[in-house]
Symmetry: C2
Subunit: 265 residues, 2 copies
């Protein structure tokens, strides 16, 4: 448990980054994308799958260049975003042309890694830039870490019934429910103190975040189990890699972003 | 060679569909997407990879629903398109939760198949709906089939130097150059008779189309070779499947679409 708490404290500087926001947060998202995909590809390498890190890094640079230099309200933005998706798939396919050395799984892992890590984490900065509701970017982290911490403690003290033992043997149904409550309470507090006008929406996001962040966690567990690894990396000694820390954020970020754009805006 | 010519004639009804355009063309694109991905997944099945056809069909329905019901100039359009990409990756990852039965490659093939077949072919209808340059949708097919036919005949009569024997043993450098010329001439004729105002652009699209359609053809060859199959399907007896016919179109469609949106508009 001590490890867990220390590992939580390690995340404290992140809150400062979210607080300052802007270019600093954008840079942090970019780094999560390129460090996270590197860890993801190291896991694939253990299965004999050689994804193209060069394609993914180029794609990440291009995505953030689009974000910075193209007005998100313009017609060009949608076109270049679509072009970005096309180009990622195209480049990954062309990567197979060295047919003696490569397998379809190498291209497919490149496509998957670029979208799952780089594109998903990009939603954090996209949410922050979403105008009057940009401050809801906090909920991406509050739901993810609120779920994580409360699920851990509830499971530790009350956990009896296994949630999905084949994917993640230690998780319990009690922990899962505790996680959703933790996420909801934190989000409600946030709404109450900082965004009273949309208090109800904050609670809804809290509930949704409690659910999707656990799916994010389990998705990472599935991949790690299949790759035969315990952690994605060892960036923070003893506390796993970037992807281990942000597996839930990869799912809560799009959830919050689309909630802002489709429900609130 | 007889087979080749008959197989060309089989495509004639397609020209009628392009001529009428509108909902008929949209429906044709949708069908290419769902039949093509089915063929693609049959190929994967031969490698022991079980992609989720249900995810891909649902994604195709959603993509065309977005296309039909949401104004492409609105902010909602870009958001729902982004959401579509997110949802495809998400659903494919969740597909892995039956962890005993499934492998990462199953999810990755679903992501790849949905984007490569459904999203790429969707660009045909997107190009047709691009406003004043919508008629350039013809160039998607003229470049693809112009390249294919001329590459075949040039290669047949003049071919001496192999292009990339490991991927496609019969292709020659002479055929490849002939293909680019064929695409360029057809596109130039189209521009001269129907779109004189942008004649030069038609020629540029012709050259680009001659190149990318060969990349489309080779990409399909790489996949088929790795899957250990000669053709993707047998929809048209003796002439392969939908994907064998449209492998080049999957690449020329985005090329023409992005050319219209980023250069001409």
């Amino acid at each position: 448990m001590k490890t867990r708490i220390i590992s939580g404290l390690v995340m404290a500087p992140l809150l400062l980054i979210v607080y300052f926001g802007g270019p600093l947060l954008t840079l942090a998202c970019f780094l999560i994308g390129i460090i996270g995909s590197r860890e993801f590809y190291s896991g694939f390498a253990k299965m004999g799958v050689k994804a193209s890190y060069a394609v993914t890094c180029t794609a990440a640079l291009a995505l953030y260049a689009i974000d910075m230099f193209i007005d998100s309200d313009s017609q060009y933005f949608i076109t270049t975003m679509q072009l970005w998706f096309f180009a990622v798939v195209l480049a990954s396919c062309l990567y197979l042309f060295k047919i003696d050395e490569r397998q379809p799984a190498d291209a497919m892992a490149t496509i998957t890694g670029t979208f799952y890590v780089v594109f998903f984490s990009y939603h954090v900065t996209a949410a922050e830039q979403s105008g009057e509701y940009g401050m809801l970017v906090w909920l991406i982290f509050l739901t993810a870490f609120g779920t994580d911490i409360m699920a851990y403690f509830t499971g530790y003290f009350l956990g009896k019934h296994k949630l999905c033992p084949k994917i993640s043997p230690k998780k319990t149904i009690e922990g899962s429910i505790g996680g959703i409550i933790g996420s909801t309470v934190l989000s409600a507090l946030f709404g109450y103190f900082f965004f009273e006008r949309i208090f109800i929406h904050c609670i809804i996001i809290g509930v949704l975040g409690g659910v999707v962040s656990q799916f994010g966690d389990l998705t990472a567990s599935v991949f790690k189990r299949k790759m035969g690894i315990k952690d994605y990396g060892s960036l923070i000694p003893g506390h796993g890699g970037i992807l281990d820390r942000f597996d839930s954020v990869l799912f809560t970020a799009p959830m919050v972003y689309y909630y802002i754009m489709l429900v609130l805006s």
